[in-house]
């Protein structure tokens, strides 16, 4: 049997026999679910932490919010995400048997720390005249933040948020450590059944690559749309 014959035999063995391709399909589904929900959680947490810092900087009465945000960001960014994940699953939430919600929580909390810094920088990049203009029209601090500052800040941080999205997608590949059947674990499972490493690992890597390329192009479309108001 030649090289291609051998490859074909392995392909059938890895993916077709006993519907083993389902390992990748199930894994892909879980990877997508975990990435999307932890991104939403991360953006929500990140926005709240960023506002903690902005409000505290503006009014020293709320200094405690600044401290909370700093501790959160320091601890989360200072420890490996795999360990955080295992601590959530095996220690804090040891009584939860379903790993996917725990993975969403773990990755979301992790991502929140990075998103917080992205948002904080984005909000601070908006000229302070914007806040003054909103306030001078009788709008409240929060209305001005919500309708004047945040839409502009969001547009500025979109490329950085996109990078975070992509990083998060790839980071979820360690979810197997808490027995999540994600895309990487799916490939690993096939390898355990067929003793072939090459095709399953390359296949899952290719799927990650394709997803990243899709996200990148969607982001650049979105960015171009949002830039429309900036034409000069």
């Amino acid at each position: 049997m030649g090289f291609f014959g051998e490859l074909q035999r392995k392909f059938i063995d890895d993916f077709i026999v006993k519907d083993r391709y389902m390992e990748l399909v199930t894994g892909l589904r879980n990877t997508v679910i975990i990435t999307i929900f932890s991104l939403i959680l991360g953006v929500a947490i990140g926005l709240i932490l960023a506002l903690f810092k902005i409000v505290a900087r503006q009014n020293r009465k709320f200094k405690v919010l600044d401290i909370i945000a700093d501790v959160y960001i320091t601890v989360i960014r200072g420890t490996p995400v795999v360990l955080q994940l295992m601590i959530w699953f095996y220690v804090v939430l040891f009584f939860v048997s379903e790993p996917i919600p725990v993975a969403i929580l773990g990755f979301g909390i992790n991502s929140g720390a990075y998103v917080a810094e992205i948002f904080r920088a984005g909000i601070q990049s908006i000229d302070k005249g914007q806040m003054e203009a909103g306030r001078s029209l009788g709008l409240s601090y929060w209305a001005t933040m919500r309708y004047i500052i945040l839409p502009q800040a969001f547009k500025n941080v979109l490329p950085a948020l996109g990078n975070e999205f992509i990083a998060l997608l790839k980071e979820t590949s360690v979810a197997g450590y808490i027995s999540v059947h994600d895309l990487t674990r799916g490939a690993y499972n096939i390898r355990n059944m067929t003793y072939d490493s090459f095709l399953p690992l390359i296949a899952s890597a290719t799927i990650y690559l394709i997803m990243v390329m899709i996200i990148s192009s969607l982001l650049s479309v979105l960015e171009r749309r949002l830039r429309q108001g900036d034409r000069s």
Partner: protein, 240 residues
């Protein structure tokens, strides 16, 4: 309309406003002049509490607005402000810039606000710019839109913080023209500016500020024609 009593503002140990007493009646057009760093912008920004006074009182239409219990957002609806750098909202069209605050605060329905915005835009000669975005406009156009945005709230008082200082020279005229028309219609105005021609022509009273104090307070003919203090004479000799 607005009464300022013993207004003091410190910035990190430095006294920027040093006990201002002043009162402005309805219909007056006050022009504030003085060297840079004299506190004239800070004075203006204290009037609508964009800067929080260190001490002193500001009474607007009889209400002490420095009282922390006063809802400053409600008070600010009646005080329009125009900034040196326009501060239009770049992510909104000209129309949305104008109608956002009145509709969001439920002072007008969207239709009413749009009709009012169109009328105001027509008055400043920019009726064709409603759909444009701020970055598509010249500086003079931006500032005229900023004036319209403030007027859309139907304020009782308009504050102008060096409205022509960031403009190219050829655009200064179109903005001053709008301000003159506004003055002729009877709007109460407080204008911080370096445009001495405008001060002479439009001002009913000119305040000369130096080192955080109002040093002279007189009608323009008097202040420009016959300044009493050395400091004002020196300043006027440089700018006139």
């Amino acid at each position: 309309m607005i009464e300022v009593k013993k207004l003091v503002k410190d910035f990190g140990g430095h006294r920027v406003l040093d006990g201002i007493d002043q009162s402005v009646e309805k219909g007056e057009k006050i022009v504030v002049i003085g060297p840079s760093g004299s506190g004239k912008s800070t004075f203006l920004r204290c009037l609508n509490l964009l800067e929080t006074p260190t001490s002193g009182e500001i009474l607007f239409e009889g209400e002490n607005i420095t009282d922390p219990k006063v809802d400053i957002n409600r008070v600010r609806r009646k005080m329009g402000m125009v900034f040196q750098h326009f501060n239009l909202f770049p992510h909104m069209s000209v129309m949305d810039n104008i109608i956002f605050a009145p509709t969001h605060l439920k002072l007008m329905s969207k239709d009413e606000a749009q009709a009012k915005a169109e009328a105001l835009l027509k008055r400043v000669g920019l009726q064709d710019k409603a759909k444009a975005y701020p970055n598509q406009l010249s500086g003079g156009q931006k500032q005229r839109i900023a004036i319209v945005r403030a007027l859309a709230m139907s304020p009782d008082l308009m504050l102008f913080d060096e409205p022509t200082s960031a403009l190219d020279p050829e655009m200064v005229g179109e903005v001053l023209e709008v301000m003159k028309e506004l003055a002729q219609e009877g709007m109460t105005m407080i204008v911080v500016t370096h445009e001495m021609g405008f001060a002479k022509e439009v001002g009913t009273r000119v305040l000369f500020m130096d080192e955080g104090k109002i040093v002279e307070d007189a009608p323009p003919e008097e202040l420009f024609g016959n300044p009493r203090t050395e400091r004002a004479k020196e300043f006027l000799s440089k700018v006139l």
